[in-house]
Symmetry: C2
Subunit: 404 residues, 2 copies
């Protein structure tokens, strides 16, 4: 039979598999599992009735464009509505800076393809979101990690790493980070650091890729809306490419995200998208647009914040009750994730294998590290399981931890 290895490109040979997606496949095959793995939103707050009504209105055939191909930039009224959403976050964006993407994962892929050459350094947090890591690895980026402290990325380490890499002759173009309720740590980057990062990017001639899926999901006992102000909101020099999505605030099944970039780059991203998927789903964009027009983002946001805060509380309480001081973690200030440090001697892969035997799944910490570290960490997502299932999952985690 045909030998396919010889046909593979460098990308094809060195594809980086998503640990989170792999766990998702495991879950799909074992419905009895408790999953703390994928960062799936809670479907109980998907606005089903609204979407059913909107679909009934859109699918009459009166407007034939609803199921037709659409412009690569996106459905114009949705672009306009997204500009208003951005304004609510302090970001002033023009139409020529905006592009609808097939989920914000496509934004990461577009950035990687248009801005990263093989061997270029992309700076990422230690730890960093695996979907970002994969997108950059698949264009043969050289990923270099930067330390974090409790307030987010360590600026001294950042500059030291940049100087070292440039000194070694490498091109360093991009810094990728998730300032709001970082995936996987749940951390919030301080406002001071956000301002200093802009100055640093200008001084060092770097672009910042700001990935913000969780900004709207702050927990009001420990974080404020003001603290989630995007870096892009204060970017006067065109240093930031901002990515976000409706997946966490409406529903992810639609695959509707967006990116804001300097107009010149937005043009390039649009052209690249033409040959990637022509257009994002047109019905999806129409459904999301009508949902925004109905005010659902405003209605849902406080309910989402309360729900996820409650789930965080349930998870933290369960962990304390059932595990005592066996695990430690920074209390999540928003978003979907709790980032736990394992007891000395415990290892993430070995623990996962034992957890799977007990019908529990989570994501291993090392999947988020580009420097080979993180085997003493695990990511526990509290967003998808019901508040009733979370203690059961923690019970299984406790059993796995003590079954060595």
């Amino acid at each position: 039979m045909t030998e396919y290895n010889a046909f593979l490109s460098p990308t094809g040979r060195h594809l980086h598999e998503s640990a989170i997606r792999r766990m998702g496949t495991v879950v799909a095959k074992a419905p009895d599992l408790v999953s703390f793995a994928a960062g799936y939103p809670d479907p109980s707050l998907f606005p089903w009735d609204d979407f059913r009504e909107i679909a009934a209105q859109l699918l009459t055939g009166a407007d034939p464009t609803v199921l037709q191909y659409g412009p690569t930039r996106g459905y114009t009224p949705l672009l306009d509505a997204t500009i208003d959403v951005l304004a609510g976050r302090g970001i002033k964006a023009d139409l020529n800076e905006l592009l609808i993407t097939t989920g914000s994962q496509q934004g990461l892929d577009l950035v990687a393809r248009v801005l990263v050459s093989p061997g270029d350094v992309v700076l990422v947090e230690l730890p960093a979101y695996t979907g970002g890591i994969s997108a950059f690895k698949n264009v043969q980026a050289h990923l270099v990690g930067v330390q974090q402290d409790d307030e987010g990325i360590d600026l001294d380490d950042l500059d030291a790493v940049l100087v070292r890499e440039r000194g070694g002759g490498r091109k360093v173009n991009l810094l990728y980070l998730v300032p709001n309720f970082q995936n996987p740590t749940g951390r919030l980057l301080s406002l001071d650091k956000r301002h200093l990062l802009l100055e640093w990017a200008e001084r060092r001639d770097v672009l910042i890729v700001e990935d913000d899926p969780y900004g709207a999901l702050f927990f009001d006992d420990v974080a404020t809306e003001e603290e989630t102000r995007p870096i892009r909101a204060d970017d006067a020099r065109g240093r930031v490419i901002y990515l976000s999505t409706y997946s966490k605030t409406l529903a992810p099944g639609f695959r509707v995200g967006w990116m804001v970039a300097p107009a010149e780059l937005a043009d390039r991203f649009e052209t690249a998208k033409q040959s990637i998927d022509l257009t994002s789903g047109v019905l999806d964009q129409r459904l999301v647009h009508e949902a925004i027009q109905r005010g659902l983002l405003e209605t849902l946001a406080p309910r989402l914040r309360n729900l996820y805060k409650h789930k965080r509380d349930v998870m933290e309480r369960s962990l304390r009750e059932q595990l005592g001081t066996l695990l430690s973690w920074p209390s999540p200030k928003g978003g979907f994730f709790l980032w736990a440090t394992l007891p000395p001697g415990e290892e993430d892969n070995a623990l996962l294998l034992r957890a799977l035997e007990k019908q529990l799944v989570f994501v291993i910490g090392s999947a988020f590290y580009v420097d080979g570290n993180g085997h003493d960490k695990i990511r526990l997502s509290f967003s998808a399981p019901t508040p009733e299932r979370i203690p059961e999952g923690v019970r299984r985690l406790a059993a796995a931890l003590t079954s060595t």
Copy 2:
């Protein structure tokens, strides 16, 4: 301000813009235009009532997975249904050879990224579909054209080109072609040539990328279903990657296509897709799946064939009546396109500019040629305009042609 050129990757610097998409943007801005440009399906046959009913059933919230993230491979029942669709075309495919894609354009992009290294030769038809050209150019492929005759690609030229390119030290991995009602020529590749291509691919160790969006849309006065049998149907050696879509048989706003590839490659494509868009639209996949379960593909296919055949007739009659022998073309045997040769001395770009003044748009022939030729051709799509508007468009074309 920031100078962005220095940030661009080779892909970002040399992005290939889609002439068809550019024309689409023109159309969107001038609704009074007659468009023979984009190959949009006729929305009058989109099954609106069915989709409205299906959406109402899916969006009750009873099944929360309808709006959730889904597996990267695709929604399993849709994969199963697609295996049946493939069987109807003579293709026996297993689940591990199949992947749902975000439109079949994503299939092209996946093939390009996983199988083509910068500088590799990809063999394409003269002329070839621009979306294929763009996908391969954007991974820095070296595109080399192969002549066609009335029965499709010229096998002597194909082998001569391969020998020449390999002799020059280049890697030649892939042949890209559209056997059924080719975009842009409307031609049908003969069954003899399909068999000979399989032998050639095996002998020369090449993979064939078979792009088949239009196979179901044969015109029964000049073509039979048997003549559309995919190359993949007789591929015993794993030489063919087969791409298709529901965009032309149900509706394109959903972005649901698929690819069939040898299992080992399908795994690679799946992994690549993880970092590209995680999953294709989940609601879209559910809607398409339910539409298939309702038998809509079977119900619609003869109606689609008759409608597009009728439109082809209207366009050919209008062209003969209003232009006499000024244009010549091979009569389309199926699909969406008529490929016209201009009178001596006429040039595609100049004609398009004059046509735009008269509110008519089409795609220039040279956009489909990788060797710089084609300026004596234009592609006229008869699929989207109503039978009433086609003669008006042809009238404008006649006016543009005689206004030099």
